[in-house]
Symmetry: C2
Subunit: 710 residues, 2 copies
């Protein structure tokens, strides 16, 4: 009575152990076996890696690990270049290197196919070991995105010196504006326990060129400067160092008072300066390559030098003097606005900082958000870019999506970053792009930088969703080279994250590329901004008007009334446009010449004014809302079609999140229309649906447990 | 110039992908290939699993998955019993089942080696599919702990009906007294996104017999009873259902007022009763097998029926009536003490509840903590056990180690659980153990239960450390069978978690078995209790005396003075001993007869009184502190010796945590001695070390970011 065997399809799925599932932990470093195995196998049968520094060993190990996956078998590690070998070489390890390295600096690399004694060898060469590491990752990226490896001749060096993540992570494990779980810093068990995730964090960052990380929230607690927390930061620095990543700290301005009982934090008080000098020395004893300080001062309740009638420059320079002997720098944020300043919030940072140009010490950067308000779905570039030629300006992007759907919306930020970087400030005539301001080429600055507010947390997938990983990736790639296109980056990311198959990459890239514009459409079309719910910033609340400070209220930003909608920032209004260079200001003075995407940012426009489409503004607004919702519906269809090509867990998560995004996009549209209609008194355009609920229903919604809310 | 290949030892380690690392995620369900492959291979070549319910399929899949791992190859799934097959059978699927099932109930199982038509078959049989699931896990446990599988004849049924975890998880993702990261409930993205971790949670619990889970903190928010949160709970219930796990909710007494504007929460008010009836019906529409409510009322600031001059029974019975039509139950916690009650805190629960015996509805259990204070390293059993014969008493253990070293100390709780369960109440004469009170056998209760406050969080290893997993495991196993020994459970756990090799299991079990006593020694020897830091409960602070409520202060508990130390709970003191049955009370009245481990719990003893060892109390106290520290030092040596046998990540984590434990054990000892010596004025005994710092140093320590502090 032996029974007939039968096929057991369920078992296959069940028997994949949980740890083997594609859960997103490996990010873009999955190193799946490549499709054109011959190409890679021919060129990467062996590795020569003579360097013995921790960073050289990391470069070797990352290359070996990546090739083992991509090739399906580990390459041989050999002592000398041979046919089909990859040779990791620096002038120190190979004096007769057949590659020119001038102009590549310490971090750049060259990858070149050469013939040595008749043997085909790929040389990855650099002046320093960090360059080898970046070159190793670059080679893997080429191999894993289907590039031909036959005749490589690539030279690449980072355009920005400082390529940093800013973690808004608190010492209690929460993350301000974090939507991916708790902080990955286990402060409580550091420095004793340094889990493997810290290494994987460093690997992921190094693979995209990030070379620094600010560990703690800009809304800082002074505890992070106490001896126990310095030891914890030092433990992380030790893990990150081989991967070329330096550690920085956000500091609280009044730390000398809180920690040591000083009576003042006046930057010109010698005791205050001495305290910071001693504190810096203490930090550098624990972390010899400590990067420096990031400061949020006199902003949103944080103390700062203005409390003592001193300027931001006075404050920054005092701290800069403390870290200067150790080679450190200070990043001073320009994100300031004051409750007692009745001027347009969008103008205040410029008004405060522009007069200080030329007054900052040479190891200070002023860190400026991409736009003048606060990381909205779309903002025109910040007027400070191009306006402070004697000061290195550092870009601050937000990778975490505080205003773009938080963890669940698929809104690829590459196009947002690209749009800002390519914006032309006209500071020195046409071509004075924001990218050329921050990379120092416009004004000849050597100290340059870019920062991204991290979207990283303890969630298994690091970023709260698989697609949010692309934003981290895109930030790093653009920090290295701000001229890359968001689309090329999306292709790279999708190929490494999912599959090189065009059937997968093409639709995924197509989804991603329009997704941020869709969010603009369903949240804040035509230049609207800051109409989200209070505190948690989740969901629409354009009706809010009663918060204590005027600039906390959505009505301050959209200024909708019976006549029209939008913030007049021309001469007849706040005249914020005068902060831009004359060619830009002239264009923005005229609503007809203002890019329609920024229309309501700069102009109060009548409900019946005509848009380029021929629609009235009212009808056009609604078309935009609808287009945003329709785009999300289309993404859902596209994704559903990818089911056969995507592993089950990542497919299901993305599918669930797209469902949430679709529901919430409709909610944004409906709530916004329900409110604005009470002012415009215009009917819905033909063929469009009225909001599902009445305005009071939308107003009644409350979200006491929304994440990321400090 | 082909280069010579050479061995690359680093590569092997590096090339293990992170996801494959032993990171603790798989808990005791790792299903490593067993050492005696022949034994298992012979008996588990195939599986017969005719059941088609979700639970039957889960039993089949878990068995297949486990055997695939333990055997190194997937068994065949066949239609009928064959030689070497395992047959999952119920009377419904196999009317002629060659196994008797009477007395096993719905959850019990039998495992029997039988011969059918000359073929050797192992039958796993049960009355219901849940029994099959438990039987499948039991078979795997046998196979993976080295049992002979030749002649099995096992019958097992759970002694307790409700075997529950209590999650003290808040809706904002924090966990009160949680030391393993955020809550694993992603409330924000439920019900849309149900990640795979929920299934793995259910699998882990089912594997040790847990059949219910209270999702939210006993310090409850009423939001958990709103429609959105009911839908979220229902989504979890759907995931858990196939694994035999029911969902329960903690409720806030004033929910009818907060959610619906009722003017009162008086349990005898018909509108209040109607509200709860309707709410229960709403929940049961979403979750047809909803378990019921857990209530913390009139305790530590929580509202309750006493606010309306009603009794706990009035409150419990009103809720019980609401869930009764649906088959639900109410668990009413006896953890009460009142700020305006000057009586010994240890007496108050008994005083409140004992008079209510016989007044509770038949679907109410009163949930009693193991001891009368609060989950201390050691407490005598709670005097309510045995004192309420007409009421089902449910045990509440704490698996999370609020008072036993939190996430990092290795303090296996099996012996603590066992000690309580085996304690004799003498309620009906000798042998009236706490286990027999709660399993219903002493008084003939059918409704029985046991709850453990979970130590589970979003940390990759679930419980904050590998060894903390053992406490979860031990709770589940003892909930199934309270007569199991803690040591046998430790052996099972270690074999499944690390290796069946005696070289590994023996030293690990030895470490575990003495570890809780070591924590008692270095924290609260000889019956001391509640001398920890305020709020976070981390570290020693026996000097605290100025908190608003007397019973919040450590000095309330130890009562140390110039004469001696300890809480007189005899007739000359609070007479708490009178709450125990006469034989127990008589023993406890005499310090000479009181178990020395509980001496200072019941007696105020002079510093120079003699202990059984011949030491004075003062010298004996210090010997205990030293023994605790020495035990941790010995564990470190043992663990270091296991390096060759334990994978790198789990080895390193445990090693780091033992280092923390050693440092903190010394801190507990030194701070306690430094304080008590100011009162005892006795010298250190010969050969013992004075505290490392003076008392003020210990008093100066502050831990503003200690985890788990609500």
């Amino acid at each position: 009575m032996f029974a007939r065997l039968f096929c057991w399809t369920v078992a296959t799925a069940v028997m994949t152990a949980p740890a083997l599932a594609e859960d997103g932990y490996d990010l873009w470093l999955r190193h799946e076996k490549v499709r054109d195995g011959g190409n890679l196998a021919r060129h990467a049968a062996a590795v020569v890696a003579p360097g013995r520094s921790a960073t050289a060993l990391a470069a070797r190990d990352e290359l070996m690990r990546g090739l083992a996956g991509a090739n399906g078998a580990a390459p041989a590690l050999v002592e000398k270049p041979m046919n089909g070998a990859i040779w990791l070489a620096t002038p120190a390890s190979a004096p007769d290197l057949p590659v020119k390295l001038d102009g590549l600096g310490e971090e750049g690399y060259a990858i070149r196919s050469v013939t040595l004694d008749g043997q085909s060898v790929t040389v990855i060469a650099a002046n320093g070991d960090a360059g080898l590491l970046y070159g190793a990752y670059a080679y893997l990226r080429l191999a894993e995105t289907g590039a031909s490896l036959d005749r490589l001749d690539i030279r690449s060096a980072p355009r920005m010196k400082l390529r940093l993540l800013n973690h808004w992570d608190n010492l209690d494990g929460t993350v301000e504006r974090g939507y991916a779980g708790q902080s990955i810093w286990d402060w409580w068990r550091l420095p004793d326990w340094k889990g493997p995730r810290y290494t994987d964090y460093a690997r992921a960052n190094a693979s995209i060129g990030i070379n620094g990380t600010v560990l703690n929230n800009v809304n800082a607690r002074s505890d992070s400067l106490t001896a126990p927390y310095i030891a914890k930061a030092a433990a992380l620095a030790d893990v990150f160092r081989p991967y070329g990543i330096k550690v920085y700290l956000s500091v609280k301005w009044t730390a000398p008072m809180e920690l040591s009982g000083l009576r003042t934090a006046d930057p010109l008080d010698p005791a205050v300066a001495a305290w910071w000098k001693a504190k810096a020395a203490e930090i550098y004893r624990a972390i010899p390559d400590f990067g420096g300080f990031l400061v949020k001062a006199n902003s949103e309740g944080q103390p700062g030098p203005q409390d003592y009638k001193r300027t931001h420059a006075d404050g920054a320079n005092m701290l800069a003097a403390a870290v200067k002997p150790h080679g450190g720098i200070v990043m001073w944020r320009a994100f300031v606005y004051a409750h007692d300043n009745p001027d347009d919030r969008a103008k205040q940072a410029y008004s405060d900082f522009k007069p200080l140009d030329g007054q900052f010490a040479d190891n200070v950067l002023v860190q400026v958000k991409n736009g003048a308000i606060d990381f909205q779905p779309r903002e025109p570039f910040h007027p400070l870019f191009g306006a402070m030629p004697r000061t290195p300006l550092m870009m601050e992007f937000q990778i975490t999506k505080e205003y773009l759907g938080q963890s669940t919306h698929l809104t690829y930020l590459g196009p947002l970053f690209e749009e800002t970087l390519k914006s032309d400030t006209f500071a020195r005539g046409k071509g004075s792009t924001v990218a050329r301001v921050i990379d120092g080429s416009l004004e000849g600055h050597k100290l340059t930088g870019i920062a991204g507010v991290a979207n990283i947390g303890a969630d298994r997938d690091w970023s709260g969703s698989i697609f949010n990983q692309a934003d981290w990736y895109a930030f790093g790639r653009l920090a290295w080279d701000p001229d890359l296109s968001a689309e090329a980056i999306a292709r790279e990311w999708a190929a490494q994250t999912f599959s090189t198959d065009a059937k997968v990459v093409d639709p995924i890239v197509a989804m991603m590329m329009g997704s941020r514009e869709a969010a603009v459409d369903y949240m804040t079309p035509l230049g609207l901004s800051h109409v989200m719910g209070t505190g948690h910033h989740y969901g629409p609340a354009p009706w809010i008007s009663e918060l204590a400070r005027p600039e906390w209220n959505p009505v301050y930003y959209h200024k909708a009334d019976a006549q029209g909608i939008g913030f007049d920032r021309t001469k007849t209004g706040s005249n914020a446009i005068a902060q831009y260079a004359p060619p830009v200001a002239k264009m923005l003075a005229d609503p007809k010449k203002t890019p329609e995407r920024d229309l309501l940012w700069f102009h109060h426009v009548g409900w019946d004014a005509k848009l380029k489409s021929g629609d009235t503004l009212w009808n056009g607004l609604i078309r935009h809302y609808d287009a945003g919702v329709a785009y999300v519906a289309a993404m859902r269809r596209t994704w559903d079609g990818l089911r056969p090509h995507v592993d089950a867990e990542r497919f299901a998560q993305t599918q669930a999140f797209l469902g949430i995004q679709h529901r919430e996009a409709k909610w944004w549209r409906d709530a916004s229309i329900a409110y604005f209609q009470t002012l415009s008194k215009r009917p819905m355009p033909p063929g469009t649906a009225a909001p599902e609920h009445d305005l009071n229903w939308y107003k009644s919604l409350a979200f006491p447990y929304a994440p990321g809310n400090p």
